[in-house]
């Protein structure tokens, strides 16, 4: 598909789509389509020409075949919680919504896998497993809304992925509809395959390889015991040093999350957990495993934190207290509204030992641009989520937020890190790709995209600076928008 050719959605094409999904599962009126003009990344907007709500792989296949026949681009969409504009229908075309494909097809506890349709909400899988002694490990903070198909496409992480790994470590097979409309299966539950690791390549391809219609995921045995701690620091520096010391000591906690003073204040106001309001930073630390082992680990961590200047390390005493602590952490975004009318969440990564440097840099940037920044992030992985607070009615402030965000991401690269640990490139970070990769790297990646998606008909304008967009150039960012935090 050429980058200049505008795509045309004809009445004939719409009729063909309606024959596949029925008129009640097809939206094409302007008002209804507005809802789909963006996802969790609201900076760039583009309304699809039509949204179809598919219910089976056969329907996806028929829709894709129709798109090919009429040269209309398509983009898959799960719950639309992407924070990188992954669902943006660049250049219009068809949005294929997978939210009605929400069957858990099989749960096999003995062989430790489940087969799910792509629209299954992440938390619903864990709910279905409740009481079985098993769970699905990847737990993005958006797990109450986001879908497994979206998780596969973005290779989602979450607080507990520090110990358990991100989505790709738990996906063993994928069924997808390719860009010709054929149903293809990659991988599966048996140990070894006679092929390249296509499943591994597919995960994180951000919807540019085709539409996932079924996923084989690993399920994980629940740990026998947890210890959840809150370490309280009077300085951000000491806190980031403690993180570095814990990892450096060879301890891999199940989760290691940092929250700074700004976010703690907002959380306390929202949840009245009893967070100390005068602390500069707190660390939420969880260890899990054998009952005989967790106390020793918790003790070592307490000692390491105290040695690094923690003024107090609290051990959560009950399951309810632990649950509330995690609720605070996972709903941190809800509390940010108390701080500012608008906010922009960034997603950068640095080597874990560089946390003190990057946090210092973020504070400097905040001061230099006079933009308040709060931090709540997956510290154990070095995965930052600085949240820049602003008022979107103030155009000049908006520009400063953009500048500050870019400087932070550039610093992540300079410190040996990356511009995204879990939200993906989408449309948001395309301009950073040639700062992370060489021209040849991008050329090879483009070649790989073409092996799956030769005409560029699937999710144009995403992930790679070279990815073609039908009739529409990549829109320059002009606005940071309001985004949810992790």
């Amino acid at each position: 598909m050429s980058t200049t050719e505008p795509c045309v959605v004809t009445p004939e094409f719409l009729r063909e789509l309606a024959q596949i999904v029925g008129t009640e599962r097809l939206l094409d009126s302007k008002d209804e389509l507005l809802v789909y003009e963006c996802d969790g990344y609201v900076v760039e907007k583009s309304v699809p020409d039509v949204v179809v709500f598919v219910e089976s792989a056969a329907e996806v296949s028929a829709v894709v075949k129709a798109c090919v026949k009429y040269s209309v681009p398509f983009v898959p969409r799960g719950a639309g919680t992407s924070l990188a504009g992954g669902c943006l229908p660049v250049g219009g075309g068809v949005m294929i919504s997978l939210t009605r494909m929400r069957q858990i097809v099989e749960i096999n506890l003995r062989d430790r896998f489940a087969i799910v349709e792509p629209g299954v909400v992440n938390l619903n899988l864990s709910r279905a497993l409740a009481g079985s002694g098993f769970h699905y490990a990847p737990d993005p903070s958006s797990q109450g809304a986001c879908t497994i198909g979206g998780n596969v496409a973005t290779n989602s992480g979450g607080p507990h992925t520090l110990k358990y790994g991100v989505t790709v470590n738990h996906v063993i097979g994928v069924e997808f509809v390719n860009t010709e409309g054929d149903i293809v299966r990659l991988g599966g539950p048996c140990g070894r395959q006679n092929d390249f690791d296509m499943t591994g390549l597919f995960v994180g391809s951000e919807g540019t390889f085709g539409v996932v219609t079924k996923v084989w995921v690993r399920i994980t045995r629940n740990p026998a015991a947890y210890r959840t701690m809150l370490a309280i620091f009077d300085s951000v520096d000491d806190c980031s040093q403690a993180i570095s010391n814990i990892i450096g000591a060879g301890i891999v906690p199940a989760a290691l999350e940092m929250m700074d003073k700004g976010i703690v204040g907002a959380l306390e106001e929202a949840f009245q957990f009893g967070f100390p309001l005068d602390a500069e930073a707190v660390l939420l630390i969880e260890v899990d495993g054998l009952e005989v082992a967790v106390d020793d680990e918790a003790q070592t961590i307490t000692q390491l934190c105290t040695d690094t200047g923690a003024r107090e390390v609290r051990l959560s005493q009950t399951d309810d207290e632990r649950a509330l602590l995690w609720k605070c952490r996972k709903q941190a975004f809800g509390a940010i509204g108390r701080l500012s009318p608008s906010y922009c969440t960034q997603d950068g990564v640095v080597p874990r030992t560089q946390l003190p440097q990057i946090l210092k840099f973020i504070a400097e940037v905040s001061e230099r641009h006079d933009i308040a920044v709060v931090n709540v992030f997956h510290a154990g992985d070095g995965n930052l989520h600085p949240i820049l607070l602003f008022d979107e009615r103030n155009a000049e402030q908006v520009q400063r937020v953009m500048k500050a965000s870019d400087e932070i991401l550039e610093k992540c690269i300079e410190l040996g890190g990356s511009v995204t640990g879990e939200h993906g490139i989408g449309v948001e970070k395309i301009s950073f790709m040639n700062r992370l990769f060489t021209e040849t790297d991008l050329e090879v990646m483009e070649d790989v995209r073409k092996t799956f998606n030769p005409s560029g008909i699937c999710s144009p304008g995403k992930l790679l600076p070279t990815a073609g967009a039908c009739g529409m150039e990549h829109i320059e960012r002009s606005h940071p928008g309001r985004k949810a935090a992790m």
Partner: protein, 367 residues
């Protein structure tokens, strides 16, 4: 297996540029490159072959031990890598049949052994890669941080690609701490049925073994289970496992996991049957009926059959059993990803290696 030509020349590059030159020259002259240590595709070769030995390209590029990552050149031998990591109390927990192999070849072959049950495979550890494709293009993917979703995951594509797509030149791994202590217990059962019952109970054990292996032969069956951690937690786990297994005999050794894992190395040459973990005991019984004993990884559903009688032919038996149970068979000398004839695989091969420098496609032959 079809005939493959013996390498006619050696090349020991000590820079990526030399690798590029070798590949470009092979592409221009219609010759082939074999990556030393990687068993090539099973396709007839009618070309001159140069063997690329990466042994001189083995520097540690960066080892920020406190970040628990390491970046190394591809020729570094696995044993040397593990020695360096051990000094910092760290490890790359991958079992490898020949520790004197370069790490690039180990990744290309996706080596794994008993500990894959507890630790996963190389796909869980390679976080950054540099390689040269069949057009002589140097490319990178991933990076040096443990969490990173920028760009396509070519690290995983190259892991297990058996040298068919590119020559790996540099890698970054995420690392694990070395365990303080370990135990390896052998639980003996009267037969495969008893073993199966034990495996069912073990599925919900509170212990967290890193090894869950089995061996089934005529009249006896064994589980070989490895645990790691502090002494107290190892001892607690063995006690728990003993209760779960209800075996006739138990023998436990301390700190012998490394030795056990390296002794598994010779298996690389056997056909491997992959089935669901719940089918392992059944598959072992079916193999016995076909004159083959088997050992393997009960936790991950991998069996290696070998002959016990005149009638037993491991590969034939493996193929029959896998077909009956819906599993698959892989072996280094017969099965190669480059031979998978799905359109996607073939397109990837044509993209990365349009001149068939690596996968040794005979000149003029269509894939």
């Amino acid at each position: 297996m079809s005939s493959t030509a013996a390498p006619e020349g050696w090349l020991r590059p000590n820079s990526v540029d030399e690798v590029v030159r070798a590949i470009k020259s092979a592409a221009e002259n219609s010759t082939a490159i074999q990556l030393r240590g990687v068993v090539p595709a099973d396709v007839p070769v009618q070309r001159r072959v140069t063997s690329l030995l990466m042994d001189d390209y083995k520097a540690v590029v960066d080892y920020p031990a406190r970040d628990m990552t390491i970046t190394v050149q591809a020729g570094l031998h696995v044993c040397e890598l593990n020695r360096i990591l051990a000094e910092e109390g760290q490890q790359l927990p991958i079992d490898c049949f020949n520790p004197a192999m370069g790490i690039g070849a180990v990744i290309a072959s996706d080596e794994s052994g008993p500990r894959r049950f507890g630790y996963g495979t190389l796909r869980d550890y390679v976080i950054g890669i540099e390689a040269v494709d069949g057009q002589g293009r140097i490319f990178h993917a991933g990076g040096r941080v443990v969490k990173n979703v920028a760009g396509y995951d070519l690290c995983r594509l190259l892991t297990g690609s058996r040298g068919a797509l590119a020559a790996i030149t540099q890698v970054t791994f995420r690392l694990k701490p070395r365990p303080v202590s370990s135990r390896l217990s052998v639980f003996t059962f009267a037969d495969a049925n008893k073993l199966q019952q034990a495996l069912e109970r073990l599925n919900t054990t509170e212990a967290t073994p890193v090894i869950l292996d089995f061996a089934v032969s005529e009249g006896t069956a064994e589980l070989r289970i490895g645990v790691e951690g502090a002494d107290a937690s190892c001892d607690w786990q063995i006690e728990q496992l003993t209760a779960d297994c209800q075996a006739e005999e138990v023998a436990t050794e301390q700190n012998s996991i490394a030795q056990y894992c390296s002794s598994f190395g010779y298996r690389w040459s056997c056909p491997a049957v992959s089935v669901l973990p719940s089918q392992v005991a059944t598959a072992a019984r079916m193999l016995l009926k076909r004159g083959c004993v088997s050992v393997g990884h009960a936790g991950t559903g991998i069996l290696y059959p070998s002959r016990i009688s005149e009638v037993g032919e491991p590969r034939d038996a493996a193929i029959e059993v896998a077909a009956e149970l819906g599993g698959s068979v892989t072996s280094w000398d017969h099965d190669h990803p480059a031979c998978s004839n799905t359109p996607l695989t073939q397109r990837l091969l044509n993209t990365f290696d349009p001149h068939s420098v690596f996968h040794w496609k005979p000149s003029g032959a269509e894939s």
